[in-house]
């Protein structure tokens, strides 16, 4: 791994110069305080981080028990953003739930839209045309870039470097602008529909994506050059948040966390969906399983995503983007207003839903944070009888406590940044 040039150099361990600290502590003692500061670093205490903590990326609450500055145990508490989406899904039709998927992983809404639409299509046995598939791959990869950029930027900012964060946000802004052209919204996209997408991508949008991919690699290298050759960054990340390969599997981790421990599992290759089997890309894996390895996995996935985007732009052909299944797929709006048949189908789909057969179905995609899956139980009506969302952030957060064991309190922030949880998804 090309971490820095002089790999021979040994990083000295953090040595606490007790005598120096002792003097500072003694100067803190006053007459009206009964606390003795003589052994402050030996004290045990329980510290509450969050839910309103700037570095916990949302409303994650951690209770850490400390021995001096070392974390002995960490207990994450979830539920501060629980909105009961699984309950809501049971009383809304399959189409009505699409806007809610934006609010799951709100840093990559397009990927959630794609995952949900694919899951419903698997449930009702619907195949979408080639162009629709390529559009979905393009938006899903844009979502991955969008999410990883924020993950990397925020990780580096938590360590103290603000410049790379601003550069990452600048790149991210370009993707949001592209979303604006593609679907008319920057953030809450709700772009996919059952059987296709809301509207075809324009040539203007494709040209914008082309321009973005051409410029992105050099801009990413600017960020990587400033970060990866920075000694503070390396020292703060290397060996921090280690979790063994066995534990990663045992705890059900997926996504960059799993690939950072040496397992090349990626649903895009292992259970291919859409057109990923026709595209050529690599799955970056590292074996160190620490914060630095997770950073490298994400950084290299960005490069691979750009490669996928470039191939898609070459291969995407003209044609229909929505499936031709009038009972399941919403008709075009201009035809709804002028044609009787389409008006009836629109009315039936909106009011009664797509009515899948009575069965259970599971479908998952590789979202930016890991395996994002939807388990449907259908009873034949227009509403799902039960919808279970397998959200990667929730499952990955389970690895947080073992990663934090015996690390320093200042490392907790780095570890949270490397796990990259999104609470909208973890709390559902």
């Amino acid at each position: 791994m090309p971490k820095f040039n002089n790999t021979e150099q040994v990083i000295p361990e953090r040595v606490i110069r007790k005598s120096e600290i002792q003097k500072v502590l003694e100067s803190m003692e006053t007459d009206d305080l009964s606390i003795s500061y003589s052994d402050a670093l030996d004290n045990e205490m329980v510290l509450n981080m969050g839910p309103q903590h700037p570095a916990t990326h949302g409303v994650l609450r951690l209770l850490v028990s400390l021995d001096g500055e070392t974390v002995k145990k960490c207990v994450p508490e979830l539920g501060y953003l629980h909105r009961g989406y699984e309950k809501l899904a049971e009383s809304s039709t399959y189409h009505e739930f699409i806007p809610h998927t934006d609010r799951l992983d709100y840093l990559s809404p397009m990927a959630n839209n794609v995952a949900y639409a694919l899951a419903v299509e698997k449930l009702i046995d619907l195949e979408i045309p080639e162009r629709g598939k390529y559009i979905r791959v393009i938006i899903a990869e844009l979502a991955r870039i969008q999410s990883h950029l924020l993950a990397l930027g925020a990780l580096v900012m938590d360590i103290g470097a603000v410049t790379p964060f601003l550069w990452a946000i600048r790149e991210r802004e370009k993707i949001l602008d592209l979303y604006d052209i593609i679907c008319g919204a920057r953030f809450t996209t709700s772009y996919t529909r059952i059987g296709g997408v809301a509207q075809d991508v324009s040539d203007e949008a494709l040209a914008g994506i082309k321009k973005f991919t051409d410029e992105f690699i050099s801009n990413l290298n600017d960020i990587r050059n400033i970060v990866e050759r920075n000694k503070i960054f390396i020292v703060r990340c290397e060996g921090i948040g280690y979790l063994s390969k066995e534990d990663c599997i045992e705890l059900g981790l997926t996504g960059p966390l799993l690939r950072a421990c040496g397992i090349d599992r990626d649903l895009r290759v292992n259970e291919p969906y859409l057109v990923y089997d026709k595209l050529d890309f690599r799955i970056p894996t590292y074996t160190d399983s620490d914060c630095l390895a997770r950073y490298y996995v994400r950084a290299e996935e960005l490069v691979e995503s750009v490669k996928i985007l470039q191939q898609c732009l070459e291969k995407i052909s003209k044609g229909p983007h929505n499936a031709l299944q009038t009972k399941k797929v919403l008709p075009k709006k201009d035809r709804v207003y002028t044609k009787m048949e389409e008006l009836i189908h629109d009315f039936m789909i909106i009011n009664f839903g797509v009515n899948p057969p009575k069965r259970e179905s599971y479908s998952a995609i590789e979202a930016s944070k890991g395996e994002l899956g939807f388990y449907f139980i259908s009873d034949g009506s227009g509403h799902p009888y039960r919808l279970k969302i397998r959200s990667p952030s929730f499952c990955n957060l389970q690895g947080l406590a073992p990663m934090m064991k015996d690390c320093m309190i200042s490392d907790t922030v780095v570890i949270i940044g490397s796990v990259d949880p999104v609470m909208g998804e973890a709390d559902k």
Partner: protein
């Protein structure tokens, strides 16, 4: 999963009461609640099966007189790239089963979520608390008899 692999599974589990179903392309296995730990141990440790990762647990309220509740475990073999679903039917009045966190550590949070949302009790669970809702909340929100709009005064508001 191919026919051959299903046959291997069937022979490995021939000593137990199982029922094979289809989950839209994936294999689902109904397992008896009493034998679940033994079955899971075989699934995890047998070198030909190696289902070493538990990815998710789904709790279902079928809302029927007999076997009202059901747990569905989504397990994956990373080595062989196979996924199966283990299903356990649970009692209507007192839904209770052995915790699978004795086999896969990741079951810990999934089962806490099922306990919180569906009120299913897990024996020998290391830390059975509510996952999302406050501890003093008395209801189980994902049960079918819990109203969508919630129950008034179920969470006390602060006094003025």
């Amino acid at each position: 999963m191919s026919e051959q692999n299903i046959e291997t599974l069937k022979t490995k589990l021939s000593n137990f009461k199982t029922e094979f179903t289809d989950v839209n392309g994936y294999t689902g296995i109904y397992v008896d609640g009493e034998q679940i730990l033994d079955v899971c141990r075989i699934l995890k440790e047998d070198p030909e099966l190696m289902f070493d990762s538990l990815l998710d647990a789904v709790s279902v309220d079928r809302f029927q007189k007999k076997d009202r509740f059901e747990m569905i475990y989504n397990i994956l073999s990373i080595k062989y790239n196979r996924r199966i679903f283990i299903k356990i039917k649970l009692d209507s009045k007192t839904p209770e089963m052995e915790s699978l966190s004795q086999i896969w550590k990741s079951a810990n949070w999934y089962e806490r979520e099922a306990y919180d949302m569906m009120g299913i009790n897990f024996r020998n669970h290391p830390d059975l608390r509510r996952m999302y809702m406050p501890e003093e909340f008395e209801y189980y929100p994902l049960r079918k008899d819990f109203p969508l709009m919630g129950i008034p005064d179920s969470i006390p508001l602060p006094n003025k």
